[in-house]
C-alpha cells in the first residue's frame, strides 16, 4: 500500500519549481495579461526543451513513455506560478484524450506534434448549456461516406486562441464521442477573468473532423477534470504560502499580524481546506490513471470539494493580505482569479454534487 508519488516524481517537481521560479516570475506572467490572446511562447519552448510535453506519451508517439501520474505534480507547479502556457489544455487534457480514445494510427498522427510542443491542442466540451456531460452537448456530428463533419458552438474553451487542434465532444446518433478538428474551427478570443490564461468560443460550421476510435466521452472527460484539480491545488498552495509569509512580515499594533490568533486560525483553516483538496485531487488522478472502479466518483469528489474549498483558500488569502491584495500591482489577484475561474470550469460543485448523487444512488 503506497499512496504517494515516487522519489523521481518529487525530484521532477523540485526541478520544475526551481526552473519556474526563475523563468516564470509574475513579472513574466504580467507581460501577457493585457492581451486576450497572449501567452508565453518563450516559456513553452523552454518547457518543450526540458521534455515536459513529451513526458506522458508513448515513445512511438514521440513521447518519453511515462504516464499521467507523472504529470500531476508538474501541473501543481505550473498552477503555482499561474504559468501563461497551454500545458493543462494541450498535454494533460487534449493529449490525454487522444491517447486514451485514439487508435494507434490516430495517436501516431496527432500525438507527436503535441508531445514536441509544436502543436497546441485543447479540449472543447461545454456549450451554451454550461454542462460538461453528454446531456449538455448539442454539437452535431454527421457522417457522409467516410468523412465526419461537425456543427455547433463550443464555449469557455481554454487556450482556444493558441490552439492548432481541437479535441471536441460532439453528439452522434449513437451517442457522444470525441473528434479531432484540424482545420476550419473559427475561434473568437474572449476576455478571460483569469488574466493568465486565454479563452475563446469555437464555432464549428460543417467542419471536417476525425472521430477518435474509442466511443463515449469517458475516460477522457474525467481525465480532464482530474488534471484541472491537480493544477488548482498548486495555485491554492501558493496562495497559502504567500499569505503565511505576508502575515509574518506585516506588522500592526507593533507585532506581526501572523501572531494574532484571528490570523493564525484563518491560515490553519486554509491548510485544512488545502490538504483535503490535495488528497482528493491526488486520489482522483490515481483513479483515472489506473481506471479504478471508483474513478468517476473520485473525480467528482475532488472537483466538487476542491472547487469550494480552494475558493475559500483564495478568499481568505485576500482577506489576510487586506487592502494591498485589492491593488492591481499586487499579485494576489492573479492567483485569486485563476482559482475562481477553475472553480466554475470543468463542472462546478453543484454539477459534480449531482453526479455524485446519481453515482451513489440518491
Amino acid at each position: 500500500m503506497d499512496f504517494d508519488f515516487s522519489p523521481e516524481q518529487y525530484t521532477l517537481r523540485d526541478e520544475a519549481r526551481r526552473f519556474l521560479e526563475q523563468q516564470c516570475p509574475t513579472s513574466h506572467v504580467r507581460e501577457f495579461i493585457d492581451d486576450p490572446a497572449g501567452w508565453s511562447r518563450g516559456l513553452w519552448k523552454q518547457m518543450a526543451d526540458l521534455g515536459w510535453m513529451a513526458l506522458p506519451f508513448p515513445e512511438d508517439a514521440g513521447g518519453l513513455g511515462q504516464g499521467f501520474l507523472d504529470l500531476v505534480l508538474l501541473l501543481g507547479e505550473l498552477g503555482r506560478v499561474v504559468a501563461p502556457v497551454p500545458f493543462l489544455s494541450s498535454i494533460a487534457q487534449a493529449g490525454q484524450v487522444v491517447l486514451r480514445h485514439g487508435s494507434p494510427e490516430q495517436q501516431a498522427r496527432f500525438l507527436p506534434g503535441i508531445a514536441s510542443g509544436e502543436q497546441i491542442a485543447t479540449v472543447a466540451i461545454a456549450e451554451k448549456s454550461g454542462s460538461y456531460d453528454e446531456a449538455g452537448i448539442d454539437t452535431r456530428a454527421e457522417q457522409s461516406g467516410n468523412a465526419w463533419r461537425l456543427t455547433g458552438e463550443k464555449r469557455y474553451v481554454l487556450d482556444a486562441p493558441a490552439a492548432d487542434l481541437f479535441v471536441v465532444a460532439a453528439r452522434t446518433p449513437e451517442g457522444a464521442r470525441w473528434f479531432v478538428v484540424e482545420e476550419g474551427a473559427v475561434v473568437t478570443p474572449k476576455k478571460s477573468f483569469d488574466l493568465t490564461r486565454t479563452m475563446g468560443t469555437v464555432a464549428l460550421e460543417d467542419v471536417e473532423a476525425v472521430p477518435l476510435e474509442s466511443g463515449g466521452l469517458e475516460p477522457g472527460l474525467r481525465i480532464c477534470v482530474a488534471a484541472a484539480c491537480a493544477e488548482m491545488v498548486g495555485t491554492a498552495a501558493k496562495i497559502l504560502d504567500l499569505t503565511v509569509g505576508y502575515s509574518k512580515e506585516r506588522e500592526q499594533f507593533g507585532r506581526p499580524i501572523g501572531s494574532f490568533q484571528a490570523i493564525k486560525h484563518k491560515c490553519a483553516e486554509m491548510l485544512a481546506d488545502l490538504e483535503p483538496s490535495r488528497s482528493a485531487a491526488y486520489y482522483a488522478c490515481w483513479a483515472v490513471a489506473t481506471d479504478a472502479d471508483d474513478a468517476d466518483l473520485a473525480v467528482s469528489v475532488a472537483k466538487s470539494f476542491g472547487s469550494e474549498a480552494l475558493a475559500r483558500v483564495a478568499a481568505e488569502g485576500v482577506q489576510v493580505h487586506g487592502g494591498i491584495a485589492f491593488t492591481w500591482e499586487h499579485d494576489m489577484h492573479l492567483y485569486q482569479k485563476r482559482i475562481k475561474s477553475m472553480e466554475h470550469l470543468f463542472g462546478d460543485a453543484p454539477y459534480h454534487h449531482e453526479r455524485i448523487a446519481q453515482l451513489v444512488g440518491l
Partner: protein
Amino acid sequence: MDLALSPEEEAFRAEVREWVGGNLPDGWGTPAYKEPRSFEERVVFSKQWEKKLSEAGYAGLHWPKEYGGRGATYMQQIIFHEEMARARAPQLFINFVGMNLAGPTIMAHGSEEQKKRYLPPILSMDEIWCQGFSEPNAGSDLANCQTRADLDGDHFVVNGQKIWTSFAHVADWCLLLCRTDQSVPKHKGLSYLLVDMKLPGIDPRPLKQVTGDAEFNEVFFTDVIVPRSQLLGEMNMGWTYANTTLSHERGPAFLGHQIRFRNALADMFAHANRTIRDGVPVSEHPAFRGRLAAAYAELEIMRYIGLRNITSILRNGRPGTEGSVAKLYWSHMVRRMQELALAVGGPAAALDGPDADDRGQWQRGYLMSFAQTIAAGSSEIQKNIISERVLGMPRGEVWAPKEKR
C-alpha cells in the same frame, strides 16, 4: 502509487473477516437485536465482547510480542479496524484506556517490575483502567493540572479533582497525572502515578452528559495515600510522558472510523430516501440533494487523507502535513454530517428517543458530534498547533502558556 495490499495482508484481512463473522453476538446488527443502551448494559456487554477479542489475540494486536501482544504490523492494525467497522462490530469500550493509553504509556516509561505487574492483566481484561487527565481548570491547558501529590517519606498524599474521566467508577486502576513540584514552571512539575481506585479517599461521581447518559465521571481525591513505588518512571517527567499517552489516542483506527461514519452515512441516505418533503423524497429535494452528495464527498476524502497518512507513516515513521489537519477536518465533517441528518427529518427533528426517526439515532449523533471538535485537542487548540508547528507562524502573547517565574 499502488493501493494494492500484499498477499499476506489480504490473508490477514480474510482471517479477521472470518473471525468477526463467526463471533459477533447472535442477531447482532439486525433490527430485532436489542443493543445495550445504558452505560451499565454497555459495561456488561463490552466486558464479554472484549474478553472474546482478547482470547482470540485481537485485543493486543498492536502490543509488542514481549508484552503478550501480537506485534502486528501497522497495515495489519489498519486492516483489523477496517474489518471491525465493516462488520459494524462493537467498538473497543471498557478496555480502551488500558489497551491504548495506560498500557502503551507503562510500556514506554514503566520499570520492568511495573511492566510485569500491570501489563498482563490489561491484556487479559482482569483489570480495567481509567485515565485521570483533565481537571475543571485544566482542559485545553492540560499543564495547568492542579491535583497535587505531595511526597511524604515512602508515600504520596494525593488531593484534587479530575473530570471527564471515562470508566472511573468501574475501573480498578487510574493513570493519574498530578503535580509533584509546586516550585517549578508548570510543565516541569508533573508526574504520573498508578493509583488503585479502591484506595480510601477516592470518590468517583458519574457526570450526566447532554445525551442523558453518564459515560464520564468527576473524581475527587481526598488525602489518598499512594505508595511511592506507584510512581511511573521518573519524578516530574509527567508532561513528557503525557505526550506519549496522547500520541496513542489516534492512529491506525482512522480508516476504521471512516468506515463507521460511512455506515452512518448509509443510514442517513436511507432516512433521506424514505422521508418525503414537498412531495418528493428528501434525497431528491433540491435543498438537500447537493448537501447529501457533499457529505458523501467529504467522507470519501477522509479515506484519501487516511491513505496518504498511512503512506507517510510507513515511509517516514510519522504523519505528514495531511495528518496535521486530519482531526480538524474530520471532526467538523462529522458535525456537518450530523446536522444534515437531523435536518433530513424536518420537524421530526424536534422529537427524541423512541418517538423520533430511527429511535433517536440522529438526535444522539448530533449531540455526540460535539465531542469530536472538543475532545482530544479542541479545534481551537488544533488551529494553534497547525499555525505554529506546521505553518511556522509566530507564537502570540494571547494564548501562549506563561511559565511561572
